[in-house]
Subunit: 311 residues, 2 copies
């Protein structure tokens, strides 16, 4: 199996390392971390053990690769600053499948439209993993992956990829209805990501133990929007998310980690797209509308503070 | 006229100085600023001119005063840390009127219940004023005062106090329905105070120009709750508040100033009481519920960060 990973952040580095460990021939596209990754590879500290991932090739641009891969894993945050369609230019051979592993909802259509002749596998990572320095990844916990063809279905290639990940030691399941799976994951993300940032940095345990009604209201709105948009949202999805969060150790959300590190946040992929889907479906979502508007204000404040600092 | 001002923060110092300027015999209860105010008085920089307010007496406890005043002005923020009933102990002669000048709604009943034999005048200050140091007050803009008997009505004593303030150079009007006036003021406060803090420090102009729908939604909910609770809320109150804010220079809310200075915020007086009134009246207020819950999380984060810092 030949794979190319676009993005040497936490998610791409981790799942790329797992595929390489299984014997796949894995190259990476690196930008800011190019020098480090090219010469020293990527170190992953994980409950699965220490991994030293030396990519087959390290390139700055996918078009530099002489052989086209079977799979291109697009592992970049869904933020305005990252043009996913452009990143894929030159990466694809006639039989290359695109694998998009990212948070959020309604995030596939740009790639789907730009590359209609390629299989698009959509993926969800349930993982706590951080890039602590260029080429250094800290896998703290979890790691489950859900894969499925976009907009629906399961190909032989999804099964092959799933098998490779399963053998590497993480749970990997496939879903014939990946859009529903994405909406289901968004139930948790839409509740805890914005509240962790807007609270100024609280973990999930503090948020849930003091403001459970808000958490549930945000979750219920995602459930209603997903249902109205035609996706499978189990009746007990809110209860299950609340209960599983109660059993988790206190957890910093990925949006909070981005916020604290001064990186762009996935505000649009998680909240903006949910709110737009609500409006389109005619579903009332006042709690989501409020946290979305507040996150946009928070982002505006960050931008104006940093442009003032540059003066 | 004999007056006692409890609280040498921005509001109490400013309005106390105005009464003294009009010839009233004004004493003050000071706590942290006692030494400075006792020996140097209070300096007020204002568009009305420079005022040097030397109180008749400066005491640490109202009970120390030999003569009981005609009016006791209670000018402390409505936060959990300030026990307004206790501050009034020993301050009242048989004919003393209590004047409560503060933000928020449903903030009078503790005093009303504790001192049923005294007139309670409720007051609203539309002012931008800051205490820059002990005994130093910076009056930036505005200053209008609205006074009325609680729960309703207008006594001769309200008129007397109003006249004294009017002569001092600020607009002062009286209202026979001060609770409605308080709800009307809350329309603005409930929209801009929490958004200024949760955005991380934006002024009113940035908030309104980018998130007007949220501003209007919060304002409309206060309008609905006030109406359902039986108070007079003009039909065009949301439009008028939006328009007048558009004409204001960019403005930092009082809650944001408290937040930035590390002081307690009037979360309960402004948001908590509005949300509780909504629940009591059976009015849906999801935008207010959300910003209230988020402010409580923000406060929790501040408390836990400061208790960690003390370790």
């Amino acid at each position: 199996m030949k794979a190319l990973v676009i993005g040497t952040g936490a998610v791409g580095s981790f799942y790329g390392a797992l595929l390489a460990k299984q014997g796949a021939d894995v190259s990476v596209v690196a930008r800011t971390d190019y020098e480090v990754v090219r010469f020293r590879g990527i170190e992953v500290e994980s409950p699965l053990g220490h991994l030293h991932f030396m990519p087959h090739r390290v390139v700055r641009d996918a078009a530099e690769l002489p052989d086209k891969p079977d799979y291109v894993l697009v592992c970049v945050k869904i933020v305005e600053q990252a043009d996913r369609v452009a990143l894929l230019r030159g990466a694809l051979g006639p039989d290359t499948s695109i694998v998009l592993i990212a948070n959020g909802i309604d995030i596939e259509h740009e790639i789907f439209r730009a590359y209609p002749d390629h299989e698009l596998i959509s993926g969800l990572a349930f993982i706590c993993v951080t890039r602590t320095a260029p080429g250094k990844i800290w896998h703290q916990a979890y790691g489950r992956l859900v894969l499925g063809d976009y907009p629906y279905g399961l190909s032989e290639r999804v099964h092959r990829l799933r098998t490779a990940f399963q053998k590497s030691g993480i749970p990997c399941i496939s879903s014939e209805d990946i859009i529903s799976a994405r909406w289901q994951k968004c139930v948790w993300n839409a509740a805890f990501n914005p509240t962790s940032v807007l609270s100024g940095g609280l973990g999930t345990a503090d948020i849930l133990s003091t403001q459970e009604p808000l958490v549930r209201a945000l979750m219920r709105e995602i459930q209603s929007i997903g249902t109205a948009a035609g996706y499978a949202m189990p009746d007990d999805i809110v209860d299950r998310n609340v209960e599983s969060t109660r059993r988790m150790p206190p957890y910093k959300t990925s949006m909070l980690l981005d916020f604290e590190a001064g990186r762009p946040m996935e505000t649009e992929a998680i909240l903006g797209n949910a709110v737009r889907a609500a409006r389109k479906a005619g579903v009332s979502a006042p709690h989501l509308e409020t946290v979305y508007a507040l996150l946009k204000l928070r982002e505006l404040q960050i931008t104006s503070a940093s442009s003032q600092a540059q003066r």
